[in-house]
């Protein structure tokens, strides 16, 4: 059976082969390739099958390249040209339409059809390579993408490099700036190593220490500390270094030429991320002038405090003296009256003697009081011609802490170019201070917005210099108006009652006058007047007083 069927099929194949044309047609219809035969010009003579929608008959007679996209038609004409000239087959790839009219790629083999060595036609065998092409395209796209990515990376890198370069330049520029800044800085700048060696000092540092950097580096800087400050500085500096703490101190450098320079030294430890000490950055600020001013202010304050104590004691003594003097006077005169009467009567001598003794003792008590008063009053005064505004400014400087603490709104209305006054500076300051203190105190219960203090200077129509101190407080109560200048009189719970009494004493000693006004709106105004300075008169009077 098998043999029969084998024979049969063999027969069939043979038949098929015999029937070449039919076999040809079957073959043509089943190969997966398009097979096209054209003449030398590419005019289609045969095609094994067509894509959907076309049939073989309509295709015949058209040019093969009509089925390619216009821009690729040259590929086909070129291939035809090659085959015709070389007589050999060639290949090309071209885009076209797939069997379902989709876009497709074809690999095409073109060969010559020869008759008697002459090329009479061409045979095109096209294989659909869309998938491969697609994969290839995908690959190409990937490659292109990668390339693009690489390019971009490259560009980015380049950019980064440029930026880095710019930063580097900027840093270099910054460093240059910082160096200039350090060199030109009005503040001394220095760097110390972790153990305290000086490793950099700018020009200003050199000026403040009085020697060039060469002499400051390492631990040499210690030598130029003022001997009186050296130990203290070293101890506190060492402590700051050990504790990795910032350091701040005011001390002196003693220059080789013996100039003394006060500085404020501030350092900050440079710590790395592990809290290891790298070194110290420090600044030196010249505070010599500031110190001098401070010293001056301090001296003024001391002078004032001293003067204030003295005048307070003096005023108290004076007050006591006055109080005691009145009864003493009365005793003396009563005794005197008694004595006169006794002498004309029959009273024994010993009573008269005793009464005389009483009178003598009372008088002596009076003398002691007077000596005390004179002693206290004749404290050394230093009279000099002065600008009253200068005195006001000094007074205000002393009041400043209080003004700031109580947020007083202070306004100065000082008239320029006033004639001079002839005064003891400290005394007048004390007189003004006493009044200003009271003024400020009376306003402490007001809302801060209303706390205003006005100090004015002017030349009064009567040709006297007037200093006016006006507050915004409740004013002076009517029932105490007569008493406020009395020694020991005070409206304050702990007041000594000396302030205004002293102020009046001082101003009257200066041949001036002191009055006050309660303003109807609010506040109280004290006005001190002082005579203007006349060279001949005042100097002369001083001389007289000294004699």
């Amino acid at each position: 059976m098998d043999a029969v069927s084998e024979k049969q099929s063999s027969n069939n194949l043979t038949n098929l082969l015999k029937n070449t044309d039919a076999n040809w047609q079957m073959l043509m219809a089943n190969v997966p390739n398009y097979i096209v035969i054209t003449d030398r010009n590419g005019v289609i003579q045969f095609i094994n099958y067509t894509v959907a929608g076309l049939d073989n008959e309509t295709v015949y007679g058209t040019f093969i390249y009509d089925f390619a996209p216009e821009e690729q038609q040259y590929i086909i004409t070129d291939a035809i040209e090659r085959v015709l000239t070389t007589g050999n087959s060639t290949t090309y790839e071209i885009e076209g339409v797939g069997d379902q009219l989709q876009a497709a790629w074809y690999f095409v083999n073109v060969g010559p059809i020869k008759e008697d060595e002459k090329i009479v036609g061409l045979i095109f065998i096209a294989t659909d390579v869309s998938e491969r092409k697609h994969a290839q395209q995908l690959l190409e796209t990937r490659v292109a993408q990668r390339t693009e990515e690489l390019k971009q990376k490259n560009q980015e890198l380049n950019q980064e490099i440029t930026v880095r370069k710019q930063i580097e330049n900027a840093l270099r520029e910054n460093e240059r700036r910082y160096r200039t800044l350090a060199a030109m800085s009005p503040v001394g700048i220095f760097l110390n190593s972790a153990n305290g060696e000086c490793i950099y000092a700018n020009e200003r540092c050199e000026q403040l220490c009085g020697v060039p950097f060469e002499k400051l580096k390492s631990f040499e800087w210690v030598k130029f500390l003022h001997p009186d400050d050296r130990n203290q500085v070293l101890i506190s500096w060492r402590e700051a270094v050990n504790n990795k703490m910032p350091y701040k101190a005011e001390y002196r450098y003693l220059h080789p030429d013996n100039t003394v320079c006060w500085v404020l030294c501030e350092t900050t430890p440079e710590l790395d991320e592990h809290n290891n000490l790298h070194g110290h950055v420090g600044t030196l600020t010249d505070i010599t002038k500031l110190r001098q001013i401070q010293a001056q202010v301090q001296q003024h304050q001391q002078e004032l405090a001293h003067f204030s104590r003295i005048t307070t004691i003096a005023e108290m003594a004076s007050g006591f003296a006055h109080e005691l003097n009145q009864p003493l006077t009365a005793i003396v005169h009563y005794v005197g009256g008694c004595l006169t009467r006794l002498k004309t009567s029959n009273i024994t001598d010993d009573i008269i003697t005793t009464m005389q003794q009483v009178a003598v003792l009372a008088e002596r008590a009076g003398e002691i009081i007077h000596r005390l008063k004179n002693f206290l009053r004749n404290g050394d005064t230093q009279m000099q011609p002065m600008q009253v505004n200068t005195i006001i400014e000094e007074t205000v400087a002393l009041l400043e802490p209080e003004i700031i603490k109580l947020q007083i709104n202070l306004s100065l209305k000082l008239t320029d170019n006033l004639p001079l006054v002839f005064v003891d500076r400290i005394h007048i300051i004390q007189a003004i201070l006493n009044i200003a203190h009271n003024a400020i105190e009376t306003m402490s219960t007001l809302p801060t917005k209303q706390r205003s203090l006005i100090i004015k200077t002017q030349l009064n129509p009567n040709n006297k210099i007037a200093i006016s101190i006006r507050d915004n407080g409740p004013g002076i109560a009517a029932n105490v108006i007569d008493k406020i200048f009395n020694p020991f009189f005070s409206t304050k719970e702990n007041g000594m009652g000396m302030g205004l009494s002293i102020s009046r004493r001082i101003i009257e000693t200066h041949k001036g006058n002191i009055v006050f006004t309660n303003h109807s709106q609010n506040g109280c105004e004290f006005m001190l007047t002082l005579p203007i300075y006349r060279e001949e008169n005042d100097e002369h009077q001083i001389n007289n007083l000294h004699h």
Partner: protein
């Protein structure tokens, strides 16, 4: 001692006033007391005061201010200032204004009484002088115009003859005027007349 003389005490301290009164009355003075300056001014009793004892420091009107007001009123009663606060400028000011004395409390009794006596005597002299001058002025007013003309020349020491020549009258008439003048003025000699007029600083119109 003139027991009728009057002392005025002006002080704001009652004890001081009373003790001073006790003292000054013991030596025989009349005493009037005022405890402030205005009270004294209001009393307006200057004619009966021979000496003022004034406290320098008093409320409202000080002793020195009172002194100035009295001067403006042409009141020349001697003033003794007493003060618990005696200082040089104050004393200078008071002295310039004519105060006789400036004493510091407590004042020694003896010193005070002596000062008062001196002031009172001074005041009495002043009053005597004033009285005499008023008397002389009154007498001069009794003289006729011609007699006053004659007196003017007499003061210059002119002789009868010279006066007669100047006034264009006879020496006899001048002599007549002179004897009438002497009688009206109550003087016996020309010298006495001249000294009366000149010492009392009287001007003749």
């Amino acid at each position: 001692m003139n027991t009728k003389s009057t002392i005025c005490i002006i002080d704001d301290n009652d004890q001081v006033i009373q003790s001073l009164q006790w003292l000054t009355e013991s030596v025989g003075y009349n005493v009037k007391t005022y405890n402030h300056a205005q009270a004294f001014l209001d009393a307006n009793n200057y004619d009966n005061a021979n000496c003022l004892i004034i406290d320098v420091r008093m409320p409202n009107m000080s002793g020195l201010e009172l002194q100035e007001i009295l001067q403006q009123q042409q009141c020349h009663i001697p003033i003794i200032f007493i003060t618990g606060h005696g200082d040089i400028p104050m004393a200078v000011r008071a002295m310039k204004n004519g105060a006789v004395d400036f004493l510091t409390k407590p004042v020694n009794n003896q010193l005070l009484i002596e000062t008062i006596n001196r002031c009172v005597n001074h005041d009495l002299d002043r009053r005597d002088q004033n009285q005499q001058r008023e008397l002389i002025s009154a007498k001069i007013k009794l003289l006729t115009k011609r007699e006053r003309d004659v007196v003017k020349y007499v003061i210059f020491g002119a002789s009868t003859r010279m006066i007669a020549e100047k006034l264009g009258i006879s020496p006899n008439t001048v002599e007549l005027h002179r004897s009438r003048i002497m009688r009206k003025m109550g003087t016996k000699s020309t010298t006495k007349l001249i000294s009366l007029i000149l010492t009392n600083n009287i001007t003749i119109n």
